[in-house]
Symmetry: none
Subunit: 416 residues, 2 copies
């Protein structure tokens, strides 16, 4: 089965917005066994959208569009589709209920402009958009399926996962594709590749493909294979994952859509243990990650973000003299931060970080990217020094992931 993606919006063609929607949609289609032939970005221009549609449908069975569904005048996708299919608009009661609901929870009345969001081309089926007022649209015309979604990424993502992919699986007979993701942390892509060279070579026999997908301090390994029977494929892939565990098990922290913060949260919850944090250079980012996990209030009590010397002294009892002599980015300071917040917040574990995120603040002895991470446990306090790179946001993310991984490994060791 072949698909094409058309992303619509002037902002894409002037380079103001990077088209991240296409990669997301392409990933989801590929997982479902649908091959993407082409991705096309066009402006909010009727003739050009129609031309792109005409070309796409010559090559593909399914055409997915994003963008141009807002309530304002520059959004013309809906009327363009009416013209393309030669149909008028109808008022969709179900879609209007969704619009009303979106406004109701914000305590507002539906404006005239937004009432129009429920007007849809006569020949489409509305797809429920749980995060916005513009419904998705599904057209099934002359054996081709056309799908139109809003361009706002989180609206599109929910529509793809909850509505589009299930409907495509119902509508077409798709081959069985099995993907499994193994998530590693604390090992670089090339070192990892060297450690698993022989295992990687053995995958071909089983018709399994491997992709390395690196992100901040992590590498995702994706195994993919296709065939007739899902169970057989899964067994084959699972066998290979068991082999992989014996090679690099210590670096594997999760599978599929696991995130480090959710995995750490599960471990804390299972062991009925609690966490607090003292952050300096990460400025609240680790707390943010921890609380991204719904239900984190059962194991996370809180944090002190001590960005200034004053707060480190006042709130975490760091000695002023030590601060002045050793600097905030030092073993003494970060260990004191960890043990103080642990005592103050009455938690089992406490992480503390202090470093130089950049771009300024580096010195020859402590260049940008120097970070100390400490962990206080019921029995000890210890810390490690790291040297990351020179990008501020990347240093913050690397520090957060490294700190959470330190905690993960400590909990696992104490459980054993």
């Amino acid at each position: 089965m072949k698909a094409e993606i058309i992303t619509i919006g002037d902002e894409l063609l002037i380079g103001q917005v990077v088209d991240t929607n296409s990669a997301f949609i392409a990933t989801k289609l590929n997982e479902a066994g649908i091959h993407v032939c082409q991705i096309t970005s066009v402006s909010d221009n009727k003739e050009h959208i129609v031309e792109a549609l005409n070309n796409a449908v010559q090559r593909a069975d399914i055409v997915l569009m994003t963008g141009g569904l807002g309530p304002t005048n520059d959004d013309i996708t809906k009327l363009t589709l009416c013209g393309y299919f030669n149909v008028g608009l109808r008022f969709d009661q179900e879609a209007y209920k969704d619009v009303e609901y979106m406004f109701k929870i914000r305590g507002r009345e539906v404006s005239e402009v937004n009432r129009k969001q429920a007007e849809l081309p006569e020949n489409c089926v509305a797809l429920h958009n749980k995060n916005g007022t513009a419904p998705g649209m599904w057209f099934d015309v002359n054996d081709k399926v056309y799908i139109s979604m809003p361009g706002v990424p989180y609206e599109m993502k929910a529509l793809m996962e909850d509505e589009v992919i299930p409907k495509l699986k119902e509508r077409f007979t798709l081959p069985v594709i099995v993907h499994k993701n193994i998530l590693t942390i604390g090992i670089g892509e090339s070192v990892l590749a060297e450690k698993i060279t022989a295992w990687e070579a053995s995958l071909a026999q089983d018709n399994i493909k491997l992709a390395y997908l690196p992100s901040i301090g992590m590498v995702r390994l994706r195994l993919s294979t296709s065939g007739a029977d899902k169970n057989t494929l899964e067994e084959k892939v699972n066998r290979k994952i068991e082999e992989l565990k014996t090679l690099v098990g210590e670096y594997i922290f999760g599978y599929e859509n696991d995130t480090l913060e959710v995995i750490v949260g599960k471990l804390l919850k299972e062991n009925k243990q609690t966490l607090s944090l003292a952050e300096s250079c990460t400025g609240g980012y680790i707390s943010h990650l921890v609380t991204l996990a719904p239900g984190s209030s059962s194991y996370y009590k809180g944090s002190i973000v001590a960005y200034s010397y004053e707060i480190k002294t006042l709130e975490l009892g760091v000695d002023e003299e030590v601060l002045n002599q050793r600097g905030a980015v030092s073993q003494e300071v970060v260990e004191k931060m960890a043990s103080s917040v642990r005592k103050k917040f009455h938690t089992d574990y406490s992480l503390a970080v202090s470093g130089i995120a950049g771009p300024d603040g580096g010195t020859p002895e402590k260049p940008v990217g120097t970070v100390w991470i400490a962990l206080a446990t019921p029995t000890k306090v210890f810390s490690k020094k790291y040297q990351f790179a020179n990008n501020r946001m990347r240093n913050i993310q690397m520090t957060a992931n490294t700190a959470l991984n330190l905690l993960r490994k400590e909990i696992l060791m104490n459980v054993k």
Copy 2:
């Protein structure tokens, strides 16, 4: 002058890599007054590349390609272009010197595979690639210009800036394009559109186009126009921005690439004022935003993330009885949080937030998305209740942006 961009590579169509090259190229072309009609991503497949080229050149004067120039067998762009133009390969001595140099600085000999990097289609001019072994290629055929560049972003970027844009400016007489962005917060896209209907209609007279680009709690308005003289165009657009200010000035927080956290930081710095935070439902996210701005340590002292009742009581002096009677998401609690952290951290301003981010924890009186935001200033403490939606991450972001905007408006009012 019209251009199209074709990005070539299987990794784009399976969603493994987000195409960031296109946005960069489009930005550079737009700045040079070249209009981008379409961006097309295709796989490493000869027929499909030729089809994309044929289509692009019907609409545009300039076609820019990236990708498929590596030395390995899956890179087929160069041979495809030979076929397309019906020419053979020639050995380019200048390009070979570049290849030799790239290997020399790595202390290696040029391999046979890499020697081929200097073989170029007979009808092209080589463009010097200072960061890699694959030269860029410039074809000028039947009044159309075709440019091929490597897909590695930092190689492509240097080629665009140092070679392609200067050559395009020489080759074509280009118009001037002016874009201006106005950033608003605290007003929805549709309400904003209603307030500026007449102003929007008046833009056509001046040949100015308007786009609405919404994000979390914000709407970016982009004005674009083109003509002969840059100053005249800028004056025309600036006049319209002045008119816009009289209509919705209270919602405008910045221009172009400003971010709310940087604007708030600038205001604090200018007025020599300091900030601390007490976060509950945002779990450190506001602190993270504030510290994303380099140099934030000059106005931001720190935060208490009080996720549990215990920490709200212990660290922020919230009365236990009030917590139990009114709940953590209440005016009394959030105002106490703000005034306590302000006193404790000795800052001029303190923001505090408490809410129900979801997905769980909602009640009929306080559904998911209910958020209280308080601001403590040198003279008062006040708070507001908001009702956001039901997506956890979005509620966190909406709360953060709304809180920072509350602070921004308060600082501005006190300055007046």
